[in-house]
Amino acid sequence: MQKSLHIDPNKCTGCLQCEMACSWENHRSFTIAKSRIKVFSFHEAARFVPYTCTQCDEAWCMMACPTEAIKLDPVTGAKIVLDPTCVGCKVCTIACPFGTINYVASSGKVQKCDLCGGAPACAKACPTGAITFVDADWTGLEKMRQWADKTDTNPATV
C-alpha cells in the first residue's frame, strides 16, 4: 500500500517541529531554512498551513528535468532528486506549479520532499496530528468520518 503525507491545517499550531525534523533528517542540522516542508502563517486569519510536495503522479518537475535527475521511487511513490545527476539548472523549480522543489545554493542542487524513504520525519515530529502519513488512497477518510458523524439517522431522539 502506498502512503502519502496528509495535512490538516486546522490542527497546526505553527511550532515548526516539522521543519526542524526535515532539516535534521536531510542536513543533520536544525536549520529551518533548509527544510523541504514550510509552515505558512496567515496571521490575520489565524491559520498555520504546513505545505510541501504532494508527489504528483505525472510530476512536472520530473518531466521537465533535462538530465533525468528526478526519479520515481516505486515503493513510496516519491519523486526523488538524484544529487549526482542534478546539474542545478532549476528548470524543475520553474515547472513545478506549487513551488515545492527549490534550489539549495550551498549544494548547487535542487531539493524536494522524498518522503524520507517511507518514514517522513515531519509526520513523526508533529505534536498535534496536523501532519500524518496515511493510506494514499484514503487521505479523505478522516474528513469523511467527521461528516459521517454529523449525520443523524434518528432525528426523533434529538
Binding site: 486546522n10 499550531t13 505553527g14 511550532c15 515548526l16 517541529q17 526542524m20 525534523a21 532539516s23 535534521w24 542536513h27 543533520r28 542540522s29 536544525f30 536549520t31 529551518i32 531554512a33 533548509k34 496571521h43 490575520e44 486569519a45 489565524a46 498555520f48 550551498s106 515530529a125 505534536p127 498535534t128
Partner: protein, 616 residues
C-alpha cells in the same frame, strides 16, 4: 557545541559591528541566555549607571537549547539594567526570533553606546550591519516588521522591535518579536529606545553554526520530554485549551485574585474575562473571542491565544486594522487589564492587549498602573480635569483611551507610562503603588499566597511571578502541595524554585514546561546537547550562582534589604472577604529564614562562604 561560540558586539555610538568568541568558561559557569548575559552585563557595566544613559548595555541572548528540537526550544532573553526598577532586568520571549538568531550563528548580541539617529540592526548569517531607521521611527512594531520584510524582500526575516512606547520612554516598554511575542517586563524596550535602536532583523540559514553534542542521546531525551508534556494535564490539555487563562477562575475561587488595585482579593466578574469566557460565543456577533491556540518555536504545548475581536465593539468599530486575528489575552494581561481595575469587558481587554503588542508595552505594568490611577481618582486625588476623562473603577472606555494615549505618549498617557510607583509618588500617595522595587505585581495576591508574597519581595527584577512560581506548590500541588497560608518551608521551597527557574531561563526553553517537567526531565536534554558534564547538582548550583550574581548587581546598584519588602497594603491590610479573609503577608516571618537558606547575612548580602561556594 550547542553554543555557536560567537558574540556580536554592536557599538551604536561608533556604528560598528564586531565578532568576538564566546567566553566559554562563562558558558560553563552560567549555561546560556539569562545566566550568561547576566555575567557579561555585570562584567561590563557599572551597576550604578543610569539605565537610560549611554553607559547601559542591552543584550539579546539565546540558550544552548534555543534552535534545537527540544520542546519549547526557541526562547531568547533581553538583559539590561531596567529603568522601571533600577535593578537588573531580564525579559524572556518566545516566538521565532530567538531561534533565528541562533540559525544565523549568534549566541548573543551586545548593544552598547547610543546611536545619534534611529537605526536598526540587520543580521544575515555572519553579516551584521546598522542601517538607517528614520522611516521606521514613530511607527508601530507591526508596521516595522512588515516594512522590513518587504524592504529586504524576504518574508522569512524575523524581527524584534520597539513600538512608539519604547521610543517615547514608557518606563515599562517592551520589545516585541513576531507581532505578539514580547520581552515584556521591566522596561527593556525603553532602554532600546534610549539607544535609538528601533529593531533587530535577522535571517539565519547556516547549517554548521552549532550542533548538539550527542544526537542520539539528545533525541532520546527530547522525545521523552515531549511525551511527559503531552501526558500532563496542565501542559497536555489545560494550557492548549485555555492558555494561561486556565488560572483566572481557579485563582479567583481561591481568593487570591487581586482586584481594584489590591483592595479586594476576588473579582466579581472573573468568569467574564477568563479562559472559559474566551471560548464562549459572544451575544453580539455569535462568535467566540478565541479563534485558536498557537505555538512559539518548537513548542509542543501551544498555550498561545489567538483572538479575533467583535468588529462592532466600540473600541474598534471604525478601525478595520484590528478586525483580523492577533495575539489574545493571556492570564496576566487579562488580570492586569481587567481585574486590577475592575474592567469586565473581554473585548476591551483584547483591544488594549492588541495595542500593548502593537506599540510594545507591558500589559501587566500598564493595567496595574491604571488600577492605581483609578484608586487615586476614587479617592478624589485625581480629577477628571487632570486626567481628561472619567477614571471610574471598571470603565472599559477609560482603559481603552489610556491604552491609546500611553502607546503614543499623549496626554495623561504620559503619566500612566511612568508606572505605578512614579504615578503614586507624584500624587503624594506612594503607599498606593502595588509594586516591589518599582515593578507592578502580577496576578496573584501576596497575602492570599504567602510564598508568592515572599517571591515578590525577593525577586531580583522587582515584583514578578516568573522568577519563583510558588503558585505551583501553593495552588497546583507541584511538586508537593503547600497550604497557601502556611509560612513554614516556604523560604526553602522558594529558593529551590528560583534556582531551578534560573536554569530553565538560561537553557533556551520555556518555564511553562515545568508544570510537567522536573529537573530530571530537563537535565538529560542539556547533558546531551552541551559539552561537559551537566549533573542535576551542577545545574542547581548554576541556577544559584545566577541568582546570587543578579543579587550582587542589585546591591551594587544601591538596592538593599529595605527594598525586599511589599507595599503596606499587603503587610497590614487584611484581605476582607473570601477564602483567604483575614490574611496579610507574613513577610517578617519568612524573609530572615529566606536570607539564611540563601547563605546571606541578616542584611541580605551573600556571605563570603556563599560567594566561595558559588565561585563568585
Amino acid at each position: 557545541m550547542a553554543w555557536t561560540k560567537k558574540v556580536l558586539r554592536v557599538n551604536l555610538t561608533a556604528g560598528t559591528c564586531t565578532t568576538e568568541p564566546l567566553n566559554q568558561q562563562w558558558a560553563q559557569d552560567y549555561l546560556g541566555q539569562r545566566g550568561l548575559a547576566t555575567k557579561y552585563l555585570c562584567s561590563e557595566i557599572d551597576p550604578k549607571v543610569d539605565p537610560l544613559a549611554e553607559g547601559n548595555k542591552l543584550i539579546f541572548v539565546t540558550g544552548p537549547l534555543t534552535g534545537t528540537m527540544a520542546a519549547t526550544g526557541g526562547r531568547y532573553s533581553v538583559v539590561t539594567k531596567g529603568p522601571l526598577t533600577g535593578a537588573i532586568a531580564c525579559s524572556n520571549s518566545g516566538g521565532y526570533f530567538g531561534a533565528e538568531l541562533k540559525f544565523a550563528g549568534w549566541d548573543m548580541v551586545i548593544f552598547e553606546g547610543r546611536s545619534a539617529k534611529p537605526v536598526y540592526l540587520l543580521i544575515i548569517d555572519g553579516k551584521a550591519e546598522l542601517l538607517d531607521a528614520s522611516h521606521l521611527w514613530g511607527k508601530t512594531t507591526w508596521h516595522t516588521e512588515e516594512t522590513l520584510k518587504k524592504q529586504h524582500q524576504d518574508p522569512q526575516i524575523r524581527v524584534a522591535s520597539i513600538g512608539r512606547a519604547g521610543e517615547s520612554g514608557v518606563m515599562y516598554a517592551g520589545i516585541v518579536n513576531d507581532l505578539h511575542r514580547a520581552a515584556g517586563r521591566s522596561g527593556v524596550g525603553a532602554v532600546m529606545g534610549s539607544k535609538n535602536l528601533k529593531a533587530v532583523a535577522v535571517r539565519g540559514t547556516l547549517t554548521d553554526a552549532y550542533q548538539v553534542a550527542n544526537p542520539e542521546a539528545f533525541f532520546t531525551a527530547v522525545d521523552a520530554g515531549k511525551a511527559v508534556l503531552a501526558a500532563n494535564g496542565v501542559t497536555g490539555v489545560g494550557l492548549p485549551t485555555y492558555g494561561t487563562q486556565v488560572l483566572m477562575n481557579i485563582i479567583n475561587e481561591l481568593g487570591a485574585l487581586p482586584s481594584y488595585n489590591h483592595r479586594e482579593a476576588q473579582f466579581e466578574s472573573a468568569n467574564a474575562i477568563g479562559g472559559e469566557a474566551m471560548h464562549e460565543k459572544r451575544p453580539t456577533d455569535g462568535k467566540p473571542n478565541l479563534v485558536k491556540n498557537g505555538a512559539c518555536f518548537g513548542c509542543t504545548i501551544a498555550c498561545g491565544r489567538i483572538s479575533r475581536m467583535d468588529p462592532n465593539h466600540f473600541s474598534v468599530k471604525d478601525k478595520p486594522q484590528y478586525h483580523g486575528a492577533s495575539g489574545g489575552v493571556e492570564y496576566e494581561a487579562a488580570w492586569a487589564l481587567g481585574a486590577a481595575n475592575g474592567v469586565s469587558d473581554l473585548e476591551a481587554l483584547t483591544y488594549a492587549n492588541f495595542l500593548c503588542n502593537e506599540d510594545g508595552y507591558d500589559p501587566i505594568s500598564f493595567g496595574a498602573t491604571v488600577g492605581a490611577a483609578m484608586e487615586l481618582y476614587d479617592l478624589g486625588i485625581l480629577t477628571e480635569a487632570e486626567v481628561g476623562l472619567k477614571l471610574t473603577w471598571g470603565s472599559a472606555e477609560a482603559l481603552v483611551k489610556l491604552a491609546e494615549w500611553t502607546a503614543v505618549g499623549e496626554g495623561f498617557g504620559k503619566i500612566i507610562g511612568l508606572g505605578s510607583k512614579r504615578l503614586c509618588a507624584k500624587y503624594g500617595r506612594p503607599e498606593l503603588s502595588m509594586t516591589v522595587k518599582g515593578q507592578e505585581f502580577p496576578a496573584y495576591d501576596g497575602r492570599g499566597l504567602q510564598g508568592m508574597g515572599l517571591e515578590y519581595a525577593t525577586s531580583n527584577r522587582g515584583a514578578c511571578h516568573v522568577r519563583g512560581y510558588m503558585v505551583s506548590p501553593e495552588v497546583l500541588g507541584i511538586p508537593v502541595k503547600m497550604e497557601p497560608q502556611a509560612t513554614e518551608g516556604k523560604p526553602a521551597m522558594l529558593k529551590a524554585f528560583q534556582d531551578l527557574t534560573a536554569v530553565v531561563d538560561s537553557a533556551g526553553i520555556c518555564l511553562f514546561t515545568t508544570f510537567a517537567w522536573g529537573l530530571q526531565d530537563i537535565q538529560p536534554q542539556i547533558q546531551a546537547a552541551c559539552e561537559g558534564d551537566w549533573s542535576e547538582e551542577r545545574l542547581l548550583l548554576v541556577g544559584e550562582r545566577i541568582w546570587n550574581l543578579e543579587r550582587e548587581f542589585n546591591l551594587g546598584a544601591g538596592l538593599s534589604k529595605k527594598d525586599d519588602t511589599l507595599p503596606p497594603r499587603l503587610l497590614t491590610e487584611a484581605i476582607k472577604t473570601g477564602p483567604q479573609k483575614g490574611a496579610v503577608c507574613h513577610l517578617d516571618k519568612m524573609l530572615p529564614e529566606y536570607y539564611e537558606v540563601r547563605g546571606w547575612s541578616a542584611e541580605g548580602v551573600p556571605t563570603a562562604a556563599t560567594r566561595t561556594r558559588l565561585s563568585l
